[in-house]
């Protein structure tokens, strides 16, 4: 309690995320793998952070811990004033439900489930009444520009559209942060920029976004860049030359790539 108390008072007043001396060690047979070797990062509300690094640098592990999918071996993680390390499995599930929105590289939509139902899914695990559920899902789909494709199934949507459904799903519960793990990894460059455009718009509306990527081009759209190396933060800097996705899109040659059938 005392740890949480002091952290609450000193460090988390305006931070959405505050991690201190985070370490994560995997036991692979006899070998200990140190994925994180003491990471301390604070993220303020409304930031757009790109987390970069080579594969094996620990950025994905860091993301999974931030997303309450994994627990750190040591260290504290305060999310929105809550010491996550103290929580039970069920409480973590609730945190994932209320405070975190995930966007994955592989979209991770439920197949044979329509776009709107996919977006509604997080609300089903909460306490939202069914009427509001539908309205919220429709609104989230509109935010990512997919309002008219609500009843399409994932296999009827292009990769970019599927990722937008996933973003809508992440948004639907008004989370404190959106965590995106290589959201453009499976997309071509134009669609990638389109997705970044959506993230930038959401960020402009005040939503905190953390994005893991190994593409420097994509990281250019973020306001802040954190580079991981060997389980440690190597660089943590503000992006002074932030690119505007809408502007980039205008310069890109228009390709008719929205495959529908």
């Amino acid at each position: 309690m005392s740890v949480e108390g002091t952290l609450n008072a000193s460090t988390t007043g305006h931070h959405v995320i505050a991690v201190e001396h985070l370490t994560k060690t995997y036991q692979l047979g006899e070998v200990e793998v140190h994925a994180l070797r003491g990471v301390s990062v604070q993220v303020n509300k409304g930031e757009f952070v790109a987390i970069m690094g080579a594969s094996g640098s620990g950025k994905s592990t860091f993301m999974n811990i931030l997303g309450c999918l994994d627990k750190p071996t040591k260290g504290n993680y305060i999310l929105d004033g809550l010491n996550v390390g103290m929580l039970s499995r069920d409480e973590l599930a609730q945190i994932r439900n209320h405070k975190i929105g995930f966007v994955f590289q592989g979209f991770n939509l439920l197949s044979r489930t329509s776009a709107i139902e996919n977006v509604e899914l997080p609300l089903l695990y909460g306490t939202t009444p069914s009427k509001t559920r539908f309205e919220k899902a429709v609104y989230a789909l509109h935010q990512v520009g997919l309002g008219e494709r609500a009843h399409h199934y994932p296999n009827q949507l292009s990769g970019g559209q599927q990722q937008r459904v996933a973003i809508a799903r992440a948004l639907v519960n008004d989370p404190s942060i959106i965590l995106a793990d290589e959201p453009t990894g499976n997309l071509d460059s134009r669609t990638s920029v389109e997705v970044m455009e959506i993230f930038q718009k959401l960020n402009d509306n005040g939503i905190t976004i953390l994005l893991v990527t190994h593409e420097p081009d994509i990281a250019e759209f973020a306001r802040r860049q954190i580079i991981f190396k060997d389980g440690r933060v190597k660089t943590d800097r503000m992006n002074t030359s932030r690119k505007d996705a809408t502007a980039v899109l205008k310069e890109l040659p228009a390709i008719d790539e929205d495959i529908e059938e």
Binding site: N64, G67, L69, D70, R89, D90, A93, Q94, R96, N97, H98, F102, F104, N108, L109, L110, R112, L121, P122, L124, Y125, G126, S130, R169, N173
Partner: protein, 405 residues
């Protein structure tokens, strides 16, 4: 997640693999169907045995004399000469719970009619004999009180005897000779068929008991007394009344054992019923083995399903599903499988047993109990065999489930 939503998504999940879901359910369908059909057939057998026993007569008590003992040698039941005509008359007069009394004795003899002869059992009875045995004459008359009093040489033949002695002709008013005594045939009994033990009940000649004692066996003691109680409820009362009165008449002290035995028709019925109950139980337990196998089929397919959908579980967990949400989801799927299977099984079992009873002329009775039982059983099987796979799914680590390929 609301229950209705879980049920809907369970239905949808099962619809995605229609063939697999159906094959999984088939185990339960066959199991429940078999249980219902076996219970129906067993129940049918029980009822037909009951009706056969009822054909013995209604509320019948049989009184036999006790066994004789000379020195150390004990003869069998009914060898004592303690039961007399007066005992029978006393029962008629004094026992209020008794409706009809027919003193009886029997012997075997060769009956001659013209140039045909036939060996059969000769049974003596009173005018009330038919009322006790719920029997009737198909042709002619039965003997009367007057025939009893005068030890009249009249007889009533069973159908089997008629078939053998008077093929193609009417035996009424004909004469038959029993041990050289001529008897006038005054009636023919209706056909009664076999009794519960397979004996031909129509192979019989009925004469007044007085005639049988005086003219054929030349004895004075009765082999048995048939009694019917006024109703099913008064049977044990009648039994007590008869017992008390006979002990009194036979001057038995409190220390003496009964010198007679009273057999209750219910005892016979109970024995036969117990036998068919055991049969039913045996059939049903064999059938429930297939229900168990069906349950294991559900567990198997749910385990496959959990492995197959590990990624889906991971996705659901990453967006906030708790362990218990996943548990409920898979449990409900198993439950839907077993309950839909159970419902189809009930339809299958009901149709099957109706078909069997129709084709094999085998009585079958479907009771609501057997339907509730098998439906309840498939519910329990769904929960029991669904729990392990569902728990396995719920215990998955979100990150491991998400990364599962």
């Amino acid at each position: 997640m609301k229950t209705l939503n879980i049920f809907l998504s369970a239905f949808r999940a099962l619809q995605r693999n229609k063939m697999r879901s159906f094959l999984t359910m088939l185990g339960i369908i066959i199991g429940v169907g078999a249980v219902i059909a076996m219970l129906a057939i067993g129940q049918g057998a029980e009822t037909s045995v009951q009706s056969q026993i009822a054909a013995l007569g209604t509320n019948v008590l049989m009184i036999f004399p006790g066994s004789q003992q000379q020195g150390g040698i004990r003869s069998g039941a009914g060898t004592m000469t303690t039961l007399t005509e007066d005992d029978a008359l006393a029962i008629t007069k004094e026992c209020s719970a008794v409706a009809y009394v027919s003193p009886g004795t029997r012997t075997n003899a060769q009956i001659i009619a013209g140039d045909l002869n036939w060996a059969t059992g000769i049974e003596g009875g009173s005018a009330d004999y038919l009322s006790i045995r719920t029997w009737s004459v198909a042709d002619g008359d039965f003997f009367t009180e007057a025939d009893i009093k005068t030890a009249g040489k009249v007889c009533v033949l069973g159908q089997t005897v008629v078939d053998n002695l008077f093929p193609g002709t009417s035996p009424i008013d004909q004469t038959v000779r029993i041990r050289n005594v001529p008897f006038k045939v005054i009636g023919v009994l209706s056909r009664k068929g076999q009794n519960a033990m397979g004996q031909d009940q129509d192979d019989i000649v009925l004469v007044p008991y007085t005639t049988l004692l005086k003219r054929l066996t030349h004895s004075t003691f009765l082999r048995y007394i048939l009694v019917s109680a006024t109703s099913q409820k008064t049977m044990s009362l009648a039994q007590d009344q008869i017992s008390d009165m006979l002990r009194n008449r036979h001057k038995l002290t409190a220390n003496d054992a009964d010198d007679f035995t009273i057999r209750n028709q219910n005892d016979i019925a109970n024995t036969a019923e117990a036998t068919t109950k055991i049969l039913t139980l045996l059939l049903a337990s064999i059938a429930s083995v297939s229900l168990l196998v069906g349950g294991i089929g559900i567990m198997n397919i749910m385990l496959v399903s959990v492995t197959e959908r590990t990624r889906e579980i991971g996705i659901r967990m990453s967006i906030g599903a708790r362990g218990r949400d996943i548990l409920t989801q898979f449990l409900i799927e198993a439950l839907v499988l077993s309950l839909v299977g159970g419902t189809l099984g009930i339809i299958f079992g009901v149709t099957g047993s109706t078909l069997i009873s129709h084709l094999a002329k085998w009585p079958s009775i479907i009771t609501p109990f057997s339907i509730i039982l098998s439906f309840g059983f498939s519910f329990v099987i769904g929960i029991f065999f669904g729990y392990y796979p569902a728990r396995k799914a719920a215990m998955l680590n979100p990150i491991d489930a998400l990364r599962y390929e």
